[in-house]
């Protein structure tokens, strides 16, 4: 006598297939979870692998200390120092623009403004962050370059200063939003305690809130710095790209990012110059990685401090 399959058995079958399907999906989820590490490692490996020829033929030490960048002369000279200094000059100007303005604006948004103003400011900062770098470059070409040329009576406005000013504006959203987060994260009790002792809002801000948020603000500046060093299109369009050792911000400079962008289109794939450009990328990667790692550790410590 054949029994119809029991209810329980059918359910078991369904559960088994579902469990198998779930296993597959879970495996996919795990792989995706690890993807960030895989990609980051792949970036590092590809940069190193493509830099090998440059590192063995030109040598890391002589590239980093060389002051002449003539990649197309024969034999090519691959001194990266002008490029590194170019990046530092532009970034320095950017920080001078972005840090005081950004931190002060963050203090205003966090400490002195109501919800409505805060929302408006946040949308505006969102907009500034969303404008593509090439558009900032275009505005720089149309506005900042003529301005720098006229104000300093130069032959050309394409200078580290012009690039740095635009780069500073571009770093503002990073500096403001992360500083603001850091100020916002300071527990309200601390402010109230300070107010109870008779301090004004501003006294509270500079004696209590800013010191308490200082590591976060420091991280904000670091991340703004990282963004400025890594920025490509605006500096490429604004700094004039002369690969010489810069002596002042009123000279044309060539940054590391600009060099890669300008020269990669014209090199022989697999050639020495190609490999050198990858090693410039590697230097850039190491610098930004170190900056971001430091900023991240600082932020993490701050987060732990205020967690309750």
């Amino acid at each position: 006598m054949s029994l119809p399959p029991s209810h329980g058995q059918r359910r078991l079958g369904r559960t088994t297939t579902r469990r198998a399907a779930e296993g597959v999906v879970r495996a996919i989820i795990y792989v995706c979870g690890w993807l960030a590490i895989i990609i980051l490692a792949a970036i590092a490996l590809f940069l190193i692998w493509n830099s090998v020829r440059a590192l063995s033929e030109a040598g890391l030490g002589s590239m980093l200390s060389g002051t002449a960048w003539y990649p197309t002369s024969s034999p090519g000279k691959f001194g990266m120092l002008p490029l590194i200094l170019g990046s530092l000059f532009v970034t320095g100007v950017a920080l001078v623009v972005a840090v005081p303005l950004g931190v002060a604006a963050a203090v205003f948004i966090s400490e002195f403004s109501g919800t409505g103003v805060k929302d408006v400011m946040k949308s505006i900062i969102e907009f500034m962050a969303a404008v593509p770098s090439v558009v900032y470059g275009l505005i720089g070409v149309a506005v900042v370059i003529p301005l720098v040329k006229d104000v300093f009576a130069l032959n050309s406005g394409m200078t580290a200063l012009a690039g740095g000013i635009v780069l500073g504006v571009m770093s503002l959203p990073t500096v403001i939003s992360i500083s603001e987060d850091a100020l916002h994260a300071v527990p309200f009790d601390l402010r109230q305690g300070s107010a109870a002792l008779g301090n004004t809002r501003w006294q509270t801000t500079y004696k209590v809130t800013i010191p308490a948020a200082s590591s976060g603000i420091f991280a904000a500046i670091m991340l703004g710095l990282g963004r400025a060093i890594g920025e490509t299109m605006a500096v490429l369009m604004l700094t004039g790209n002369a690969a010489i050792m810069p002596t002042s911000v009123l000279e044309s400079v060539r940054t590391m990012t600009g060099t890669i962008a300008a020269e990669m289109g014209e090199v022989v794939q697999g050639g020495l110059h190609y490999s050198v450009l990858f090693s410039v990328g590697l230097v850039l990667f190491v610098i930004t990685f170190a900056i971001n790692l430091a900023a991240d550790l600082v932020l993490e410590r701050q987060r732990k401090r205020w967690r309750r």
């Binding site: 579902r18 604006a105 505006i124 500034m128 404008v131 090439v134 006294q203």
Partner: protein
């Protein structure tokens, strides 16, 4: 007397501080409005039907930007199709599965560091990995893969944050009804977190659409006679078009280039601002 003057000093310091920080904030607003106004003012003259539907002529000095817009859409949609599934799954892993250990800490560190890698370095990586090693050549797919690597951290972070805001009660209620963990995520947690995931991802994708450096060596071209046909074609792109016009076309047409910038900024920023506003509206409305 002394107390009085101290109070007065504190009060004037307070006023000065408010004014100075207020000026800084106003300056930021002024710069943003100037950027917006300048682009609109210079670009609006170019916007007409011919500009949006014609192909570039005379190396871009005349004509329109249709293939440029279409190319940008192709690469952005391809990037979205690659980034969203992978990024959301990675976010689910971090929020729902990842143990609290050193490995998870390393994953998070990798994500924040990915966000800080310069875009030109992604361009180098894309060239070496996708164009050359994987053999995709300079193409939409190579560019989209490169942009995916860049956008992933944004999508992952947005997903994880959105999932974390879903209260544990919802998950427990679903589990108590006999749903498996995965089914709970799929049926309960993900739908509740969808607004946050979508807006965060849109912000990331809008930024990807405006990027130039990653597509410089991976598929963007200066001029194309036809529209892209499939993922293996090369493409024109709004940001690259602006850059190429300014740097390599002598006597570039100011109006048309600003028009291109306006189309790009309008596309990118309108989408981002709407997404950001929608998210903050959602946050205010839904209180768990």
């Amino acid at each position: 007397m002394n107390r009085m003057s101290r109070t007065r000093r504190a009060r004037s310091a307070e006023a000065i501080a408010r004014v100075l920080t207020g000026i800084a904030a106003l300056a930021v607003v002024a710069v943003a409005l100037f950027v917006l106004g300048y682009i609109v003012y210079n670009g609006i003259a170019a916007i007409d039907l011919t500009f949006l539907t014609d192909v570039p002529r005379d190396r871009g000095r005349e004509g329109g930007i249709l293939p440029v817009i279409v190319g940008t859409l192709w690469v952005t949609i391809a990037t979205a199709a690659l980034t969203l599934p992978v990024g959301v799954l990675a976010g689910i892993y971090l929020s729902e599965y990842a143990p609290r250990n050193l490995a998870t800490r390393a994953i998070r560190l990798a994500i924040t560091n990915m966000a800080g890698v310069p875009s030109i370095v992604y361009g180098l990586f894309g060239l070496a990995a996708f164009v050359l090693l994987a053999g995709f050549g300079r193409s939409i797919i190579a560019s989209a893969l490169t942009l995916t690597c860049m956008t992933l951290p944004v999508v992952i972070t947005a997903t994880e944050e959105a999932l974390r805001q879903i209260p544990q009660d919802l998950r427990q209620a679903s589990l108590a009804l006999g749903a498996t963990r995965l089914r709970t995520i799929y049926k309960v947690v993900l739908p509740a977190a969808a607004p946050g995931i979508i807006t965060g991802s849109i912000l990331g994708l809008a930024r990807a659409a405006g990027e130039t450096a990653p597509i410089l060596f991976t598929g963007a071209v200066f001029q194309m006679r036809r529209l892209p046909e499939d993922l293996s074609s090369q493409f024109m792109s709004l940001p690259y078009h602006i850059y190429a016009q300014v740097t390599s076309v002598p006597g570039w047409n100011r109006t048309l280039v600003w028009g291109t910038a306006l189309v790009l900024v309008a596309g990118v920023s309108v989408v981002s601002v709407i997404a950001a506003l929608w998210r903050s509206a959602q946050r205010r409305r839904v209180k768990w």
